[in-house]
Symmetry: C2
Subunit: 248 residues, 2 copies
DNA sequence: CGAAGGTTTGAGACTAATCAAATAAAGTGG
DNA sequence: CCACTTTATTTGATTAGTCTCAAACCTTCG
């Protein structure tokens, strides 16, 4: 398990399968697993599908949290901003991930697409009604939140303690692991994030990300395919770097 | 609201009062507010009080999460460690805060006291039984978890984007705000954390923390009283520094 | 093909880490 | 209560790592 896991917060281990809309109520998805057929019907009736263009916001920080989303296709990033305008990416999300759930009234962070994307959204009021009817569902969201908290804490460790090289290596490893969990096992991974996006997530400048990737390439650890394609050619060494074994 | 808030995750705004044991079931505490008298009795009967020495662990990362704790006296810090031994402090906790709740089977981080402390602990099995009986309680823990997540995300921002000076200023502001919320409004705040503890939380070395505090002292922003006493003498300037207005 | 946006690479500046030593505070035993 | 020990803090000098500013080079797309 990589210490810098961009995807730990999805429903892994809860029986999920990528590409299936959780909101739409498929039984094979973790969130819905404990629900009976009637409950699934309730959920499915309340959802709607939305297509989004690249770099289009799903919701912004501070907006009323009117819906919960499931990303069914494409990738998205989550960002948090401060009053003075500085911002950071706090995660990337992939098909199967749930976005925008919060027990509060407003979104604590924003979400925007990186690619063309499809989401399935469920009205918050209906979700609350489902909570009342099926309390076990609330437990699922609590588990999801705790998982996200653990991932964010690891991100704190990474930003506070890792060098640029370690952060980049851990990031690449976590991306490939995320890809594998989703069954997309091709050698080339396409995250449609710019170097600036990645830098915002890793607490680095885009130049440092670029330099570090170039160094990896020259050492034969990765191969770049166009702007957004990345292939890990020496995963073991990258994993060792990510674990702080650069010298040892 | 400071961006680097060590205490956002406590039950502020949910009607809590410091120094009252949540596990013990006082009605004036947020967690228990939605419960009726019978439920409070259920909770109170299931708790036990424990005294701890300074630097004594409450629980360690990876241990089975057998209990949930309320800190009733003293201060504690939370730490997360990586496989390679590197670790970071992920927060400080004060009287009234809840510690060690997780929906998973094991603690995702460790907690240890900084001072002599008293905690009140509730057996996890009994808590689960209470959840079944009073589902509204589970919603409280979800809110708590979401609050903690937001605080941790802000910490990510701070570590990724703030200079040493900004981190130290934000940290001091958040400590004083925490103190005020608890009603301990004296001018001198005592966190019993060493410079090394603070550095572990802020992603800095102990020398950098010391140098930054010294610089604040020379500029008349703070006054130090012994090793652990800190007094903010120019809070506005510190708040401006914390908000990234060092130059502007 | 040209334009726009993204990436790579370089040079220099600056922040914070490291290594090291001196000072101050807290704890201990006489 | 004092001297001694231990632990924590402060300060200094140097180094390493990352940022900033700048320019050239790719990619992608119209």
């Amino acid at each position: 398990m990589s210490p810098l896991d961009v995807t730990r917060s999805r429903m892994d281990g809860l029986g999920s399968e990528a590409e299936i809309c959780i909101n739409c109520g498929s039984r094979s998805v973790g969130l819905c697993a404990p629900l009976d057929a009637a409950a699934l019907g309730d959920m499915a009736r309340a959802t709607e599908r939305i297509r989004l263009a690249p770099r289009e916001p799903l919701f912004r920080q501070g907006e009323p949290a009117t819906h919960v989303y499931t990303l069914t296709d494409g990738t998205a990033r989550l960002t948090r901003v401060l009053a003075d305008g500085r911002q950071a990416a706090i995660g990337f999300r992939f098909p199967g991930d749930i976005l925008g759930f919060t027990p509060g009234a407003e979104h604590a962070f924003g979400a925007e697409t990186l690619t063309e994307a499809t989401v399935c959204r469920l009205d918050r009021k209906r979700l609350d009604a489902l909570f009342r009817r099926y309390p076990v569902l609330e437990r699922r969201f609590l588990e999801l939140c705790a998982r996200e908290l653990a991932a964010t804490q690891d991100h704190v460790l990474a930003l506070g303690r890792f060098t640029a090289e370690e952060r980049c290596a851990a990031f690449l490893i976590s991306l490939v692991e995320a890809q594998e969990k989703r069954g997309h096992a091709g050698p080339v991974f396409r995250l449609h994030a710019t170097r600036a996006d990645i830098g915002e997530f890793l607490g680095l400048t885009l130049e440092t990300v670029s330099r570090t990737f170039s160094a990896f390439r020259k050492r034969g650890l990765i191969r770049l395919h166009g702007q957004s394609g990345i292939e890990l050619t020496d995963r073991d060494t990258l994993a060792a770097l990510a674990a702080g074994e650069g010298e040892a």
